[in-house]
């Protein structure tokens, strides 16, 4: 086994352990935002997509890598923005609701 593979494997196992440890008891309300937050993180595949794009020399490769870059960016940008929108609802609401209610209703 090459030393690189061994060290990649070490990194892989450690990252899995971090992943297991990092999610503790979460209130159910946070499940969807947490899923969405994790979903954004795998947008890191954009880094890999950029590598294959810069190395693409023939048309098939260029097309594949264009789609890969676009997909990955969509994952990253959309993922973080939508997660942030979900999490806005945990902002502390202004506490005096009566006033606004009367104004509206």
């Amino acid at each position: 086994m090459s030393p690189e593979l061994l060290s990649a494997l070490t990194v892989f196992v450690l990252a899995i352990l971090v992943g297991f440890a990092v999610i503790s008891k979460v209130p159910a309300t946070l499940h969807t935002p947490l899923m969405s937050g994790a979903n954004s993180i795998h947008g890191i595949v954009l880094v890999g997509s950029m590598f294959i794009a810069i190395e693409a020399n023939d048309l098939p490769s260029q097309l594949l890598s264009l789609v890969a870059v676009a997909f990955a960016t969509m994952n990253v940008v959309g993922g973080y923005v939508v997660t942030d929108r979900m999490l806005q609802m945990f902002r502390k609401k202004p506490v005096a609701p009566k006033a606004t209610e009367q104004a509206e209703g």
């Binding site: 499940h31 969807t32 294959i52 810069i54 997660t83």
Partner: protein, 472 residues
């Protein structure tokens, strides 16, 4: 600065980015720090991507010049993908977010698979066995995630029927696809370099993603999406092995593992096992409301005017919103009624069951969107002791989460914590019929002598109540 220094710095930056992902996820475990955690994670991502661009730019090319086409692909791809992501994420309605997450997940899985496909097409000779293993796994997992997530999104969006779709001989097809994939993978792992076999695997995995998700009921989709999210993480980690890139391995494995835990937590919260869901047990969800006609016990129907009087002269009212309120889009109607009651001096609270509706946090999202004041939303454990002191419990389109059968063993909902609605002095239930809920069982709450049934669509029923209270 020479290239090797730049390369070192970039690698350290990637590591810092990965650390941001981890710390961000940690912070997302608690409501107070969640938003901040997501921003930290996004910051780590931005830094990691910028570092990559610098590395690619500084990298010596074969002819010494700048690779114009490569950069054009990157820039165009980022603009198109980023624009699409930004636009949809900004404009989507709160209630449609899960399907959007699923779409983004499909995109990520697709990108991971494309990396491996591109790598495979460029091969001149069979690669090292380890790389080969990673490549094939990446193609398979990435493709399953891609089509599976698209189907899941389609189901949630209503483009594909939510109820379980049984493909003729579905199980056999699914198993056959799995066998083809595994045999092909083993053939390639044995050291054979064959593009056709790779394409065969690719096709089988893509179809497998479809046949895996189609038979699962729409109500189970949040769990399925979470599982597919974990798959994408794994595929990205495999892409990391293919490219020899640590940051992909770390981030991918992180999501793979934390996504798996999260999937389990989500399934636990709705009293299901992941296995059970994937095999497609019950979970017809929205398809089953025409069942039964009120088996056992008599049911007392009640009119809007009667309910209005009860509500207007009550001191404490607890509203219990459920899936039916979400389907009927009655969140604004319920807020109006509550405001009207509050003006008359009634104390109104909302009892939020963690799995009311069809996705975790469904009710919080809906009611927050309708501007219900946050302090009025009470979590299950906080509100349960208050039911015995409340004059009227107004159940709007909720069923399973109020079913006292959950306290006894032997029913599909046994063991699920429920809202103690039956402890209230008087109970009013708004729903269209005696139809069943997600779990497909009768609710003995409806035959409780204290309960009056207001048979109506949630939105119409609430509007009628508001009108009746105003007329008092």
């Amino acid at each position: 600065m020479d290239f090797s220094t730049i390369s070192d710095i970039v690698r350290l930056t990637w590591l810092a980015g990965a650390a941001c992902f981890v710390i961000g996820l940690m912070r997302m475990n608690s409501p107070a720090t969640a938003r901040n955690g997501n921003l930290l994670s996004a910051g780590g991502m931005a830094v990691a991507i910028a570092a990559t661009a610098i590395l690619l730019f500084a990298r010596p090319t074969v002819d010494g010049g700048v690779n114009g086409t490569g950069w054009a692909i990157i820039v165009v791809g980022i603009l198109v993908g980023g624009g699409a992501g930004l636009y949809t994420a900004r404009t989507v309605k709160m209630t449609a977010m899960p399907q959007l997450v699923s779409l983004f997940n499909a995109a990520g899985g697709g990108a991971a698979a494309l990396i491996a496909i591109d790598d495979y097409l460029g091969l001149k000779a069979a690669p090292d066995p380890q790389i080969n293993v990673a490549t094939v796994l990446d193609i398979v997992i990435g493709s399953i995630t891609f089509t599976g997530s698209l189907i899941a999104a389609g189901k949630l969006q209503g483009l594909i029927a939510g109820k379980p779709i049984m493909i003729p001989a579905g199980r056999i097809v699914t198993v056959a696809l799995a066998v083809i994939t595994v045999l092909g993978a083993v053939f390639l792992w044995a050291g054979n370099l064959s593009v056709p076999v790779m394409l065969l695997i690719l096709a089988a995995a893509l179809v497998f993603g479809v046949t895996m998700v189609l038979p699962i009921g729409g109500a189970d989709m949040p769990v399925v999406i979470s599982l597919l999210n974990s798959f994408t993480g794994t595929a990205v980690a495999m892409a990391g092995f293919v490219l020899g890139n640590d940051v992909l391995i770390i981030a991918g494995a992180l999501v793979g593992a934390s996504g798996a835990i999260l999937t389990k937590l989500m399934a636990d919260a709705m009293n299901r096992s992941v296995m059970n869901i994937m095999i497609g047990g019950f979970g017809g969800g929205e398809g089953t409301q025409t069942a039964a006609g009120g088996a056992g016990g008599t049911v007392r129907a009640i009119g809007a005017d009667d309910v209005a009087i009860q509500l207007a002269y009550a001191q404490h009212v607890i509203v219990v919103p459920g899936y039916g309120l979400a389907v009927a889009q009655a969140q604004h109607a319920v807020r109006e009624l509550a405001e009207l009651l509050e003006e008359r001096g009634v104390d109104v609270k909302y009892a939020i069951h963690p799995v009311a509706g069809r996705m975790p946090g469904h009710m919080n999202v809906l009611l927050a969107e309708a501007n219900v004041p946050y302090p009025q939303l009470k979590e299950m454990d906080d509100i349960n002791p208050e039911f015995e002191r409340c004059d009227v419990a107004l159940v709007v389109g909720a069923n399973d989460v109020t079913n006292p059968a959950a306290r006894r063993p032997g029913s599909p909902v046994s063991g699920m914590p429920i809202l103690d609605v039956d402890k209230a002095h008087s109970i009013v239930v708004i729903k269209r019929s005696m139809g069943r809920g997600y779990a497909g069982i009768d609710n003995e709450l409806y035959t409780n002598p204290k309960t009056g049934m207001l048979f109506a669509d949630a939105k119409d029923g609430l509007a009628a109540l508001t009108a009746a209270v105003k007329a008092l």
